[in-house]
């Protein structure tokens, strides 16, 4: 939590295994509504789990599910870096 003072970074700037809380989403409202359904909302914890073999899309774990997003979307989702355990490292 000591990193909370840092500026939010785009999802695509995270390293694999890194995570954080979603700070804001700079996408049109229709996109945001769409993302809301899978739990991508400000405040939600999200972790970058892996990249697809060809580099894009990338897989993120949010709200207990693994979801793939293209960089074109992930670029506009900003997170406050923090340490969140990766799915499977928990408990």
């Amino acid at each position: 939590m000591e990193l909370m003072t840092q500026m939010p970074v785009a999802l695509t700037d995270l390293e694999i295994g890194e995570g954080g809380a979603i700070a804001h989403i700079a996408l049109p409202p229709t996109h945001q509504q769409f993302l809301t359904r899978i739990g991508i909302v400000p405040g939600a914890e999200i972790t970058f789990s892996r990249r697809a073999p060809l580099g894009d899309p990338s897989v993120y774990s949010v709200d207990g599910t693994e979801v793939a997003l293209r960089a074109e979307t992930a670029n506009y989702i900003f997170v406050q870096r923090g340490h969140f355990p990766r799915l499977g490292d928990m408990a």
Partner: protein
């Protein structure tokens, strides 16, 4: 905290016996996508269901019957939705059905709400607006087996109390806990006042409520499966991932094509011989011809697709249920994006190399409607197996069998290969065209959920196979039957003293002569014209038609079909015919399936017109260029 429960469990709040009773006739089944709703629906109705479309839209309507030990109850399967805020067509349908505003459907007397218990805090978001409708409701926590095995736990009684509705742990794939549904439906219920619920149109509010609620019921998420991570380390590995992808895809393709083709041929032979066996029992020759050459042939021409459809859906079922299909889509996405489509279009397009019909049915996995329609529209450009008979015939007749690249590639194989490439290129060009014009994607980002790997069960894959083949037979069967009948009538009119005319004097030959001026620039004569007309049913029909025409013509009667064609058609015309068949939409089954899947005549008509135009223009060009070159 409540211990992990291994037994299916029903928790009921309050004393239901005191509530005035009310019989249940119609029940709606609702749940988020990936909650296992369809499997549950198939289980509950044992496939006694009617599949159609809601009026005017592409959303599929499924209504089934529950009969176990009592009067029949109608079960309506609603599309998978995340909320009742009507953002999408699916959600609008769900709201309309639940509020009794959907034409032709009575308002449900009760609701079955299916939630994936392994992901309860997120799935509960849908519970608030659904419960607030105030109808008697049973909450089914699905995938209880996986949940328990993974060490998940929750206080079911507390959840039931909080929701003000009975809650049952079930497993649709295993079929456990489903007796709760029967009990719920058999007991009469009355509307109860809804529990205290948040503002319902507000998704963030529902989300907050769902999160708090899952805390209050001591919800413990099961441990994510170690296996899923391990398998993904392999299947999504930089190197192994694409390699395994290619192997899996190759194996599916090879089996559907390599095994499905002979199966279809054998099935065709069986159907033909069945028809021949019946022939002696019909004395009237005209009636015999109508029943056997018209109806039975039409029906068989649909039936022969069945082996391939079943094979393809067997594989898709296994891939989808195991969780690999989502990974395949993830790997393919990068490449598919370059033509404006997404990764989910890959498997359907690949299937189209065997047959466009199951491929178009397989596009259901694409949620984005515009992407789905674009995929449907380009699928028939892929070289399907029905093109092979005419390809083989013309290539054997007109292309000399000589090597081009050493012994590896002969001229004939070269032509065949280029036809495959040609179809593929035009498909890609069409996709780009569509995606940059009429089907420019709606503002929806690409999103793909990667479910945990699971072992597919025989029952769930089997039920899906049965379901798909019934849909196919009923829908495509009716249209193709009508078209076959029409073609039969045209080949048997006008009647001459109660006898049908020779083919060259028939109405269809008249039509063939009629379109001759139109197709002469392509290098085709009226006989080919008749073939083009009859093969509107199915591409391979042209071979049979040409066989009949040249077989009845005294000038060519003694020749093989290849020789007859060589005499009657210029090489340039033959090449033009090949190209025509590479692009033209000569398949009534495909048109019927497109109509069904898009729920409108608009798309199949656009598709037919576009493909015919492309075919005509290309054949015109090929004939013009080659006839000058080869003069």
């Amino acid at each position: 905290m409540t211990a992990v429960r291994t037994q299916p469990l029903v928790a009921c709040p309050g004393k239901s016996s005191e509530i005035p009773k009310r019989e249940i006739h119609t029940v709606a089944l609702i749940g988020p996508p990936n909650s296992g709703k369809s499997t549950l629906f198939n289980r509950l109705t044992r496939l006694r269901q009617k599949v159609g479309n809601y009026p005017g839209i592409t959303v599929e309507q499924r209504v089934g019957l529950l009969t176990a030990g009592g009067p029949e109850i109608k079960l309506i399967d609603l599309p998978g939705v995340y909320s009742l805020t009507p953002y999408s067509e699916d959600e609008r349908v769900a709201v309309d059905v639940l509020t009794g505003k959907m034409d032709g459907l009575p308002r449900p007397d009760a609701i079955l709400l299916v939630l994936d218990v392994t992901n309860l805090s997120r799935q509960l978001v849908l519970a608030a607006p659904v419960i607030a409708l105030g109808l008697p409701i049973l909450v089914l926590l699905n995938m209880a087996d996986v949940f328990t095995k993974g060490g998940g736990s929750l206080d079911v009684l507390k959840l039931a109390a909080e929701l003000g509705a009975p809650v049952a742990m079930v497993s649709a794939t295993q079929g456990s806990g489903l007796d709760a549904v029967e009990r719920f439906l058999r007991e009469a219920h009355d509307r109860r006042p809804g529990a205290l619920l948040p503002i319902l149109q507000d998704l963030p509010q529902c989300r907050k409520w769902a999160n708090q609620l899952s805390h209050r019921v001591d919800y413990q998420r099961p441990l994510p499966s170690v296996w899923t991570r391990r398998l993904d380390d392999i299947f999504l590995h930089k190197l192994w991932g694409p390699l395994i992808f290619v192997i899996v895809v190759g194996a599916v393709f090879q089996t559907v094509f390599g095994l499905g083709q002979p199966m279809s041929t054998a099935f065709q032979d069986l159907l033909t011989s069945l028809g021949q066996q019946a022939a002696p029992f019909i004395s009237n020759s005209l009636l015999r011809s109508l029943l056997l050459d018209g109806l039975w042939k039409g029906v068989s021409s649909v039936l022969v697709f069945l082996p391939q459809i079943l094979l393809l859906f067997l594989f898709i079922g296994i891939l989808e249920d195991s969780g690999y299909l989502a990974r395949a889509a993830l790997i393919a996405d990068r490449t598919m994006r370059s033509v404006g489509l997404n990764g989910k279009a890959f498997i359907p397009l690949l299937s189209a190399y065997a047959c466009a019909v199951p491929a178009i049915m397989a596009t259901r996995t694409i949620e984005n409607k515009r992407d789905r329609i674009a995929t449907i529209l380009i699928a028939p450009f892929m070289t399907c197996s029905a093109r092979l008979p005419i390809y083989t015939l013309l290539i054997a007749a007109f292309i000399p069998d000589r090597p081009v690249v050493g012994v590896l590639l002969g001229a004939r194989a070269c032509v065949m290969l280029s036809l495959y490439v040609l179809g593929f290129l035009v498909a890609i060009a069409t996709a780009k065209l569509l995606k940059s014009s009429i089907l420019k994607s709606a503002a929806v980002p690409f999103m793909l959920e990667l479910p945990e790997y699971r072992c597919p069960t025989l029952q769930s894959v089997g039920l899906r196979l049965l379901d798909r083949s019934r849909v196919f037979l009923r829908q495509a069967g009716t249209v193709i039957l009508a078209v076959s009948l029409l073609v039969w009538v045209l080949t048997h009119l006008p009647l001459n003293h109660g006898h049908s005319p020779e083919l060259e004097h028939s109405a269809i030959a008249y039509l063939g002569h009629g379109i001759e001026p139109l197709i002469r620039p392509l290098g085709f004569n009226w006989k080919i014209g008749v073939g083009l007309l009859t093969s509107v049913i199915a591409r391979e029909v042209i071979v049979g038609t040409l066989g009949t025409i040249y077989g009845t013509d005294p000038a060519t009667q003694s020749m093989t079909l290849q020789n007859a064609l060589r005499q009657d058609l210029t090489p340039a015309g033959a090449m033009a015919l090949l190209v025509f068949f590479a692009f033209a939409m000569q398949c009534a089954s495909t048109l019927a399936v497109v109509r069904r899947e898009t729920n409108s005549w608009k798309w199949p008509m656009i598709q037919f017109a576009y493909m015919t135009a492309v075919a005509y223009a290309s054949a015109l060009g090929v004939n013009a260029v080659l006839s000058r070159l080869w003069r």
